[in-house]
């Protein structure tokens, strides 16, 4: 009777415990990052994904997300221009093992941002996330399209018009 009770308890425990390993993710800006980053600068964020479980984490995928938090402009940021290293896949993370990942980023636009690393393993019903890290990107004077576009289109148009005018005059004289 005691054996049956023990087996039942063990089965219930196995059923209740998740089938995936528990992970912890830390995230911090790299020490070499500029103190006041501005547009065009490069930043790095360092994360450590630790498997704190007795079981291996399989089919692990980690990715970086960036959220703009300027009042009135709150939105997730498409990292297309910001980073070429947006995700990482790891077949297996052994029990107690740690995986260090660097996330480089080029700062494209001024504003206040929060960055977070998420990870999910095969079969897991929810992702694990790191703490959020905040940073601010200073504005920088860059090439202004309002100044360039009229010149870039206007100058060739003006010269082409002059050439046409000249051609017309010549034809008239003939």
């Amino acid at each position: 009777m005691t054996k049956i009770a023990t087996l039942l308890a063990a089965s219930l425990f196995l059923l209740a415990s998740p089938a995936w390993a528990s992970l912890e993710i830390s995230l911090a800006p790299a020490p070499a990052n500029p103190a006041q980053p501005k547009m065009g600068d490069n930043l790095k964020f360092e994360s450590v994904i630790a498997n704190t479980d007795a079981a291996s984490a399989r089919g692990l995928v980690a990715w970086i997300s960036l959220i703009q938090v300027d009042p009135g402009h709150e939105q997730p940021v498409d990292l297309e221009d910001w980073s070429a290293h947006k995700a990482l896949a790891q077949g297996e993370l052994a029990p107690g093992a740690k995986l260090s990942v660097e996330w480089p980023m080029r700062l494209i636009q001024a504003g206040d941002y929060r960055v977070v690393i998420s990870a999910v393993q095969r079969g897991a019903s929810r992702p694990v996330t790191s703490p959020l890290v905040d940073f601010h990107v200073e504005r920088k004077a860059v090439v202004e399209s309002q100044r360039i576009l009229p010149v870039a289109f206007g100058m060739p148009a003006l010269l082409a018009a002059l050439a046409l005018l000249r051609r017309r005059r010549r034809l008239r004289v003939r």
Partner: protein
């Protein structure tokens, strides 16, 4: 009016006022427009410092000016020969210096017009206004001797080769070699050979001065050595052109 001035007026009128003249001006402005649009539309380039962008445009304008001077210089004597108008030119009451100065007068006019066309582009990309005045002044100060030097050099080759194609090929190869710092950037200066090449190359002298004055805001007194390199290039190229024209025989 001196004979050299008359020839220069004729040459510049052919270059600037003719339909062909407007065509190359249009091509020049299209090239600068393409560069400007690239600076706006490319994420990497659009995040460059404003002064860096102005520097890039200045380098490109100098290279385009030198290219124009090479094209005109290569045609100056050999073109006359191929069109059958060299003998009348040599029989005209003109000294060797008059011919060289007259021919280069047309190139000077072409460079002046190219410079004027480039100014709106320099203004447009220099939106922060950082050292914009210096950019305009340095483009004239360093661009002129470098561009005219290439004109004299190509003219000399044109007289020596007697063939537009030959003179053009040799001048273009020289231009590509000397203008290589525009593409290679500061990496060129990292080796001893690169530093020596950089020190004697007039094109590099102009580019380094643009960098120093526009990006690093350094004074003119620091550019005098480089200005000397550009002026020596101009003097040597003029001497070569004059000697080459003197050696012409009817």
């Amino acid at each position: 009016m001196s004979a050299a001035l008359l020839l220069a007026r004729k040459e510049s009128a052919e270059l600037v006022k003719s339909g062909r003249g407007l065509a190359w001006l249009l091509a020049l402005s299209v090239a600068l427009s393409a560069l400007s649009l690239l600076l706006v539309s490319n994420t990497e380039l659009s995040l460059l410092d404003n002064a860096q962008v102005v520097y890039m445009v200045m380098g490109t304008v100098t290279a385009l000016g030198a290219l124009l001077a090479v094209l005109l210089g290569a045609d100056a004597i050999a073109g006359e020969k191929e069109r059958g108008s060299l003998v009348p030119l040599l029989l005209a009451p003109l000294s060797t210096g008059d011919i060289v100065f007259g021919k280069i007068g047309g190139q000077l006019a072409a460079w002046a017009v190219a410079y004027l066309i480039a100014l709106p582009y320099v203004w447009a990309v220099g939106s922060s206004g950082q050292n914009l005045g210096q950019a305009v002044a340095y483009l004239a100060l360093f661009g002129t001797p470098v561009v005219l030097g290439f004109g004299f050099y190509a003219l000399g080759l044109s007289a020596r080769f007697g063939s537009v194609r030959g003179a053009l090929a040799a001048s273009l190869i020289t231009l590509i070699l000397l203008a290589s710092p525009l593409v290679l950037g500061p990496g060129l200066r990292q080796s001893a050979v690169g530093r020596i090449f950089d020190a004697v190359n007039p094109f590099a002298a102009a580019l380094n001065s643009f960098d120093s004055a526009v990006i690093d805001s350094q004074p003119l007194s620091m550019q005098l050595g480089r200005l000397g390199v550009a002026l020596v290039w101009l003097a040597l190229a003029f001497w070569f052109a004059r000697r080459s024209v003197q050696a012409l025989e009817i």
